[in-house]
Symmetry: C2
Subunit: 288 residues, 2 copies
């Protein structure tokens, strides 16, 4: 059931991406290369599942859900640049700037971010007031106090020994904010109640931390081939992670605590949130 629903969401997302006008010009190719780079689509899936959890139709919010993947993809392209993390590989493929060069990688990121807001302002989404509020929330989550701010803190923290509250702060901004708005987005656009919005927020915040802890664990125990990137890179870079601070067992326990926290936040939904609950298990158990 979980797998079938996940697949149904993925098919919706891939079909939406494929039907957009991708020209043969280098900018479009650069954008498309990274968009179809084998991501797990967690953000749009969260949005679609949240819409369904509040009784909405996921098809009706699809353009906004896909906008989240555009924002996530732009951030990966820019993070991989030589001036930032200088990563040659991403998900087992060459990173964008290794294929298209730095100039087109920067511009593809810029164009993806801009395109995301075009999708979020889609006239078919209905309820203009809710939509405007959502656009503000996405901009805040993706901007200087959210995702971009988190990347700044990450760059600034390089080579320093960080405490657990430090890395939680960074991850809440760098990955947590966009994951949280992803779950909220579905609830907001599909007409959820304030209580439901809050439940989705609590769920996604715990899920976001769990996601990051699992990332840190996989960096130590994962297989490079399955991961699509070199395992152990945090360790070699001397990065402070959940594993370096809590040990492997401690990190695993903290991961499980966050998963349970995410699932207990879903209580107001009863049956409607079975997929979201199982998504948390999926994130705890994922191997890449």
């Amino acid at each position: 059931m979980f797998d079938a629903t996940f697949q149904r969401y993925l098919t919706m997302i891939e079909q939406f991406l494929a039907q957009l006008a991708w020209d043969k010009d280098i900018l479009s190719q650069s954008m498309y290369y990274s968009l179809i780079g084998g991501g797990k689509r967690i953000r749009p899936v969260l949005a679609l599942a949240s819409a369904e959890a509040v009784g909405g139709n996921p098809e009706a919010i699809l353009s906004a859900a896909v906008a989240l993947e555009f924002i996530h993809t732009y951030s990966l392209i820019h993070d991989d640049l030589p001036a930032m993390d200088n990563d040659d590989y991403r998900r087992g493929r060459l990173s964008n700037h290794k294929v298209f060069g730095e100039a087109y990688a920067i511009l593809a990121g810029d164009a993806l971010l801009t395109y995301a807001f075009e999708l979020l302002a889609d006239p078919g989404l209905g309820q203009p007031e809710r939509q405007l509020r959502l656009i503000r929330e996405v901009a805040v989550a993706a901007g200087k106090v959210g995702m971009v701010g988190g990347q700044v803190a990450d760059v600034a923290g390089e080579g320093k020994t960080l405490t657990l509250p430090d890395i939680e702060e960074i991850h809440k901004a760098k990955t947590g904010a966009l994951l949280t708005i992803s779950a909220r987005l579905g609830g907001i656009l599909a007409g959820g109640t304030a209580e439901q919005e809050q439940a989705l927020t609590d769920y996604a915040q715990a899920l976001g931390l769990a996601f990051q802890i699992k990332d840190d664990i996989l960096d130590v125990v994962g297989d490079s081939e399955t991961l699509g990137k070199l395992a152990g890179s945090d360790l070699r870079q001397g990065k402070s992670t959940y594993v370096s601070l809590l040990g492997l067992e401690g990190a695993g326990q903290e991961l499980h605590v966050q998963i349970l926290k995410a699932q207990s936040a879903l209580k107001p939904f009863d049956e409607g949130a079975i997929f979201l609950s199982e998504l948390a298990n999926y994130i705890e158990q994922r191997q890449h």
Copy 2:
């Protein structure tokens, strides 16, 4: 009268910028450094004047007008990067990455672009349907078929001999699209008619071309100190410009044709558009 109105708009814009929360963190400082870098504020001024031309209150659309300056500023920061135009100076000051480093320059650009959409979705602007349409139009004008696309064409055209239609095509996308939506923005948000929107569009398209032709002329006849950048750089880089293709006199004539075209588009406004008409003269005569 023109000077007083221009000054009134500039004061509104600078006050709005100053009252935003600029923290002491490096990202905020990097964003602010480029925002207050002595730009002419043509885009927000166009928006405010267009709002007034259709009988609206410019104060009421100020956050959206300033958003255009955020988008313009982000594009300058990214264009100046070593991987792009590799400019060390901008308006007589060090470019952003020379002061803050490449990573923070890229991230400041990303944050400015994101912040622009937060401002465009400001709840105080009223008329949510119009506002959503505007957000879509701004995203298109700033994105892959607009400003970013124009920068791609500019990068791709380096070292090649271009024809007049080629460079017109590049400028229409790279600078024209955002200038055009700047004028439209004021009209749309202040409740202009479809006829007024069209007149503002025609005006701004001609103004945008005039602006670029004047840039090309100043690069040849301008004084480096007044320009804030080294004159003659187009020539040294072997760039095709209006001057290289039409000669100095021919470019001056074409500039004047576009100014007259811009002014004649304003006929439907009668007295209401005196400022916009004089703004065209200002652009024809500017020395930097």
